[in-house]
C-alpha cells in the first residue's frame, strides 16, 4: 500500500465519527421529548461497548485477507468461515499496514452498525440491555459476517471458487454494516413490541411524531460527510481501488443520497400534498446506505438511479411496515438500513461490467457474466436473511430471557429519560400535556 493511499485512508477513517453523530441526531430527533437524553446517552454507551467488544474478539474473528483463518474443505473447495487471529488485536502491528487500517475502520464502523437498532427500539429499550446486546452484535454477529465478506471468507471467494462473477461485492458496507444493523433492529422491534399507545385495539397505528426535525435534518448532513469517509476508506481497503478513484466514490455517494431525497420528497409531496421532512430524511440516509455496496464500481448515473429507487422504497416501506406488519420503528431503521442495504447489494449485480472494469481496468474480466455477479449478490442476501436474522434474533431472545430488555410500562409512560437517567433532556422547557397522556 502506497503512502498516499495510507494517508488518504487514515483521513477518511477519521471522518467516520461524523456518520455516528449524524445517526445519533437522527435517532434522537425522531424520538419523543421524554426520551431524548436517553437516546444520546445510549449512543455513547453503545459506541463504547461496540469498540471494546470488537477490540476483544471482533477483529480476531473477522480477520483480513492474508491473516490466518479457520477453513473447511467442502467438495474440494476451501471455505474460510472464521478468522483465527489473536484476541485484543495482538499480532496486528498498528503501523499503517492494510490490516491495521482495516482494524481501525472496523472499530468505528461496528459502532455505526450498533447505533442502528437504537433508532428502531427508541423510547423502550433499557440502557443495560442495549449495552449487552451491542456486545453480542459487535463481538460475535458482526465479525462473523464481516469475515465472510471482508476477511477473505467464503462469500468473497464465490467468484474464484464457483465462478460467480467477482464474488460477493460490498465496498462500503451495505451488507456488512447496514443490513446487519438493520436486521438486528428488526429483531429488537419484534422482541420489544410497539411503544404504548402506538396501536389501538383494532391494530391501527397512531402517529407519534419525533420532537425535533432540525436535529434530524442536520444529522443527515453530518451523515453525508461520514458516509463519504466510510465509503472511501472501505473502497481502498476492501475493493483495492487507487486513491484517484475516490472522486468516483464521493460523487456516487452524494448522487445516491441526492436521488433518494428528491424521490422521497417528490413522492411524499404527491401522496400527502406537502413534502414530509422525516421521510425525506429517511430517504437521504437510505440513499447513503444503498450507495455503499457499489460506490467503487458503478458509474455516477447508476448511483443516481440507485438513490432514486432507494428513496422511493423507503417512503412506501416505512408506512407499510407500520400499518401492515405492526412494526413500531420510530426512526425507520429497518426500512432505511435493512431494505436499503439489500437494495444496494442487489444493485451491484445489475452493473456487473462496471464492477469488472473497476477491479481490473486493463482487461475487463470476460468471466464476469451478468447472472454470475447477480447470483453472488443474491447468495449474500440469502445469507443475511437465512443466517444473520435468525442468529441475531436468537441471541437477543436469549438475552431477553435473562435481562428483560424493555422498560416497564409505567416507567415508559414517564419517559426513558426520567426512568433511566433521572432527568430530562430539556428540564427548563414546557412540555405539552398530550405528550404524557398518549399511551
Amino acid at each position: 500500500m502506497s503512502e498516499v493511499s495510507q494517508a488518504f485512508c487514515i483521513l477518511f477513517i477519521l471522518l467516520l465519527p461524523l456518520a455516528l453523530a449524524g445517526l445519533a441526531l437522527i435517532n434522537t430527533g425522531l424520538s419523543r421529548l421524554r426520551s431524548a437524553a436517553h437516546s444520546m446517552m445510549a449512543t455513547l454507551c453503545v459506541v463504547g461497548v461496540a469498540a471494546a467488544a470488537y477490540f476483544v474478539t471482533g477483529f480476531a474473528w473477522q480477520g483480513y485477507p492474508g491473516l490466518p483463518s479457520h477453513t473447511l474443505s467442502i467438495v474440494g473447495k476451501e471455505w474460510s468461515w472464521l478468522g483465527a487471529g489473536h484476541f485484543f488485536l495482538r499480532g496486528v502491528p498498528l503501523d499503517g499496514s492494510r490490516a491495521s487500517l482495516a482494524a481501525l475502520l472496523q472499530l468505528l464502523s461496528v459502532g455505526l452498525a450498533a447505533v442502528i437498532p437504537l433508532g428502531a427500539a427508541a423510547e423502550r429499550w433499557r440502557l443495560r440491555a442495549c449495552c449487552i446486546s451491542t456486545a453480542l452484535l459487535a463481538g460475535v454477529t458482526y465479525p462473523l459476517f464481516a469475515h465472510w465478506v471482508w476477511g477473505g471468507g467464503w462469500l468473497a471467494r464465490l467468484g474464484s471458487n464457483y465462478g460467480l462473477g467477482l464474488g460477493f461485492l460490498d465496498a462500503g458496507g451495505s451488507a456488512t454494516i447496514q443490513a446487519v444493523g438493520g436486521l438486528t433492529a428488526l429483531s429488537l422491534v419484534w422482541l420489544l413490541g410497539p411503544r404504548r399507545g402506538k396501536y389501538n385495539l383494532e391494530g391501527m397505528p397512531a402517529a407519534l411524531p419525533g420532537h425535533n426535525t432540525v436535529l434530524v435534518l442536520f444529522g443527515c448532513l453530518l451523515a453525508l460527510v461520514g458516509w463519504m469517509g466510510l465509503n472511501s476508506a472501505g473502497s481502498i481497503l476492501f475493493a483495492g481501488i487507487p486513491p484517484g478513484r475516490i472522486v468516483l466514490v464521493a460523487a456516487n455517494t452524494l448522487l445516491s443520497a441526492a436521488g433518494a431525497v428528491l424521490a422521497a420528497a417528490a413522492i411524499t409531496r404527491y401522496r400527502f400534498g406537502k413534502p414530509d421532512a422525516s421521510l425525506s430524511a429517511n430517504g437521504w440516509v437510505c440513499g447513503l446506505v444503498a450507495s455503499s455496496a457499489g460506490c467503487a464500481y458503478v458509474p455516477p448515473a447508476a448511483a443516481l438511479l440507485i438513490g432514486l429507487v432507494a428513496g422511493a422504497l423507503v417512503t412506501y416501506t416505512v408506512a407499510w411496515m407500520e400499518a401492515h406488519l405492526g412494526l413500531d420503528d420510530p426512526a425507520g431503521a429497518v426500512s432505511v438500513h435493512a431494505i436499503g442495504g439489500v437494495w444496494g447489494i442487489l444493485a451491484v449485480g445489475l452493473f456487473p461490467r462496471a464492477a469488472a472494469l473497476a477491479t481490473a481496468p486493463s482487461a475487463a474480466n470476460p468471466a464476469v457474466t451478468p447472472t454470475g455477479q447477480m447470483l453472488a449478490q443474491v447468495v449474500g442476501v440469502a445469507t443475511l436473511v437465512g443466517f444473520v436474522l435468525p442468529f441475531t434474533y436468537s441471541l437477543n431472545w436469549l438475552l431477553n430471557r435473562f435481562f428483560p430488555q424493555r422498560i416497564p410500562p409505567e416507567e415508559e409512560r414517564q419517559g426513558a429519560d426520567l426512568y433511566e437517567l433521572g432527568a430530562g433532556a430539556y428540564p427548563e422547557f414546557m412540555t405539552h400535556t398530550d405528550e404524557f397522556s398518549q399511551w
Binding site: Y162, P194, Y199, G203, Y393
Partner: protein, 59 residues
Amino acid sequence: MKITGLLMMPAGWFIVLSALVLLRAFLAQNLFIAAGIGVEILGLVLFTRSHWVAKRGNA
C-alpha cells in the same frame, strides 16, 4: 408458527448453499437457489405474521 418460521429461514439458506456446492448445471443451480430463497421468504413471512398475530392478541 414462530418457531417454524425461524427454522425455515436457515433451511432455505442451506438449500442455497447446497445448490452452490453440489450443482454445476446452470439451470439446476439457479432453480435450487431460487427455491432456497423462496423457502427463506416463506419463513420470514410466517415469522413476521406470528409476531403481528401475537401483538393483536395482546392489544
